[in-house]
């Protein structure tokens, strides 16, 4: 008997035009056995979160529900409250939003306390979960001092203390850097392997989970477009954005029995089907940038007098009309570099030139008039009014912009009229980012800085952003952004700089950068290496592979 079943599920929010723009679910139908792993894919706003929340009675949205949700043979609504809290665990997207207590220990105790377990049982549970998650070293720490990845692990651990039968995760890794995301994914898979928990997870970046899923559910605009196991899905699917690179490759060949959806199996496939192609040596083009937009020379910076230098002999150049990506691990100094470039902190030693002039020669505030504009990680931060319209049409001095200009920008960035009347916090992640960009572009900056602009965005929004940035560069602006997302870098950037230990370890044109590296590179590049040497992005890989389809391989087919 199926463990979870949705039968002809239809859901609509009570008001049209409310926060979720009246999204509904139409005829959702699927069933899972106990211990299954379901991966839900779809763009933002396709109804994934709504569906996930409907599976957890305590946080179900208000609205009209038709159809049935059956859990362990009974209607979900008939489930007693205690069982619902203990047996169904829910992990949210934002690691900072979910925790309630100061210390890790108290947070782990929160759920068992609510269930009324005895103090001894609670202590035992915490000890067990701590061992499973490896949290011994941070059990007494303040949660707020932990990294994003650690916080999300604590959130997951806090939910697992009740040993739930069903674990629901709503885009749990979208706010994390790749390494933390990797660690988190490993733990989720381990939970599935060792505890037999049924897992339902929604993600934009499916690279890790696609291979291990039992079933894939694909939603678009609230409609269920597919519910299959991964191989069948890949065979039927058109070249969907959210598929991992290996899956896209196999999908374009319409294979019946797909090998595993991992980069290495894709590499095997390529090895077996294509001839080894000699690769051209890249001409070392160092110092191809002259730094007319931003030039950092031999910079030194530390936050405290005796502290370690966060920026240690760093050189950096960015040119007008080019898009420059900065990547590197957490704590390597990327954000500090941004703060230095945007004048929020000053160097201890070294020089910074913005648009040819020393940064110190700019009077206070002049740096931000028609020169540098920064998009923060949370675009909400720069909004101060109650409606988007009022906010973006008012300049920092308090005067109103010409409304026609504002409307032109809105059209260009795909912001519809009805979004303008909403409160900034009623907009989705992609929408608020575009609105913030309108606000910044109205200042007519020459240099645009973006701090991790791709966090939490789906592939479609990322593509739109990529197109916009390229347009802005073509207009002569200098675009500089920090990101962990190598695929986005491959699509968008002209130059890439890798920061490690406060230094710029590598600063190259994008193609050269990606082709040379084995970690800071794209899956497509790794798969095609030695066979399709010019490929960086998924689409390049697919088109190369398809165009050379009839080649005989090094081994026989």
């Amino acid at each position: 008997m199926a463990f979870i079943e949705c039968e002809k599920l239809n859901f609509s929010y009570p008001y049209a035009g409310d926060k979720s723009n009246g999204f509904a679910l139409h005829d959702i139908d699927f069933s899972l056995e106990q211990g299954d792993f379901l991966l839900i894919c779809g763009t933002s706003g396709s109804g994934k979160s709504t569906l996930l929340r409907l599976l957890k009675p305590e946080i179900s949205p208000n609205g009209r529900l038709d159809g049935k949700i059956i859990y362990a043979g009974k209607f979900l609504n008939d489930l007693p409250k205690i069982a619902s809290a203990a047996e169904i665990g829910y992990v949210f997207q934002d690691p900072n939003a979910a925790y309630v207590n100061e210390k890790v220990y108290s947070e782990l105790a929160f759920l068992p306390q609510n269930l009324g377990l005895s103090p001894e049982t609670i202590e035992l549970r915490i000890a067990e979960i701590c061992a499973f998650f490896g949290l011994e070293s941070i059990i007494g720490s303040d949660i707020c001092s932990l990294s994003g990845g650690q916080k999300q692990l604590v959130n997951l651990a806090a939910v697992m203390t009740a040993y739930p039968k069903l674990l629901i995760l709503d885009e749990p890794t979208s706010q994390l850097d790749p390494i933390s995301a990797e660690r988190f994914s490993d733990i989720v898979l381990r939970i599935r392997r060792e505890m037999g928990t049924t897992i339902i997870i929604s993600e934009h970046n499916t690279e890790k989970f696609f291979n291990f899923a039992d079933k894939i559910l694909y939603l678009e605009n609230g409609h269920q477009l597919a519910f299959d196991d991964p191989s069948l899905f890949v065979k039927k699917a058109a070249n969907h954005d959210f598929l991992p690179t290996s899956a896209k490759l196999f999908s374009s060949f319409k294979l019946d029995n797909c090998p595993a959806f991992t980069t290495s199996s894709a590499m095997n496939f390529v090895r077996g089907h294509y001839k080894n192609a000699a690769c051209d040596q890249f001409i070392e083009s160092k110092n191809h940038l002259n730094g007319d937009a931003v030039k950092v020379e031999n910079a030194y910076f530390s936050y405290t007098r005796r502290g370690k230098d966060v920026i240690d002999s760093l050189d950096f150049n960015a040119d007008f009309g080019r898009i420059h990506a900065i990547c590197g691990a957490n704590g390597s100094g990327k954000t500090t570099l941004f703060k230095l470039i945007s004048g929020l902190k000053t160097l201890r030693d070294g020089k910074i030139y913005i648009d040819g002039k020393r940064i110190s020669s700019y009077k206070s505030g002049a740096l931000y008039r028609n020169l540098i504009a920064s998009l923060p990680q949370d675009p909400h931060d720069i909004f101060i009014c109650e409606s988007v319209k009022e906010d973006i049409s008012t300049s920092p001095d308090g005067e109103k912009y010409d409304f026609e200009t504002v409307k032109t920008f809105c059209k260009r960035l795909n912001i519809s009229e009805k979004l303008l009347d909403l409160h900034p916090y009623d907009l989705s992640g992609g929408e608020i980012q575009r609105a913030a960009l309108v606000k910044l572009l109205l200042l007519e900056p020459k240099i645009l800085l973006l701090d991790e602009p791709t966090k939490g965005l789906d592939k479609r929004c990322k593509r739109q952003l990529s197109t916009l940035l390229k347009e802005l560069a073509a207009e002569g602006k200098a675009v500089i952004f920090i990101t962990h997302d190598m695929d986005f870098i491959a699509e968008t950037a002209d130059d890439v700089t890798l920061i490690f230990g406060g230094k710029a370890v590598s600063s190259l044109p994008v193609r050269q950068f990606i082709m040379q590296n084995s970690v800071y590179t794209t899956a497509a590049s790794l798969i095609g290496r030695g066979y399709f040497d010019e490929t960086m992005t998924d689409s390049e890989l697919i088109s190369s592979a398809v165009s050379r389809k009839n080649e005989r391989g090094d081994g026989d087919e």
């Binding site: 946080i59 809290a85 900072n96 105790a109 306390q113 609510n114 707020c144 929020l344 916090y425």
Partner: protein, 289 residues
Amino acid sequence: MKKFSQLNSGVLFLFFLSVIGITMFTQNVYLRAISLVISIINACFFDVITDYFKDFRFYLAVFLVITVSNPLFVHRGNTVLFYVKNTPITLEAMAYGANFSLSMIAVLAWFRIFSTLMTAEKIVEIYGKRFATLGLIAALTLRYVPEFKRRFAEIADAHRSAGLICEDTWFEKVKSYLKIFMSLAEFSFEKSANTAVSMNARGYLLHKRTQISHRKFQFNELLVLILTLVITVCVIVFSLTHKLSTSFYPSFKTDFSMLPTILFTILTLIPTSFELEDRLKWHLSNAKN
């Protein structure tokens, strides 16, 4: 025997309440003197003494101000030192001021020790048992404060690089800060919704929450509790029956009662005894190794 700081927070709270309360409300010079001296001794043990010395000038100022100002308001007392515009400045009034300011300094020292022991966690522990809602709100507030401080700085940076901050005049500065604060407020309101959802998803309000007590109530705590209560009651009784009063007006006269004075000394030395025993045991066990 545990350290003093590890005792049950309710017991600790009562202890400090009674010691500070007695110091404040008794007029008896002996009790206040004992309180002052032993508070300084305890401050040494609890590593607060360095802060105390840093503020020494402040305490000196307090002492002088109160001692000198008291005669300006209170004109009773027999020994007149001199006249200021027909109002007498009496020795007794100054002595009263001195007495009061010494007790205030003692109270400040006890509060210092209190602050070091009563960390945020302990505050929540007291509330947690009876006043679950209040305790939870306190816990949540404590977890939000560091995060909001950080967010304020982040939003300030974002505003600055969007050209929204203007620091020309004091008024402009205030306005800019208020804009940042409003952004922080909006962010925090949305945040509260997420926290509420997270709490509900983990079964908050189901039924009675178990309170986790890390330790069981031990003999030591009971002992301290009983001592505190008994000694406090004794002192109160003696005060009410006028065996402990000190009066400055019309002239200095003080009572001395052996029993409550000795008992109060014992009370104030409780933290010291815990610390001494702890250190003694530590050195002994180290010496063996």
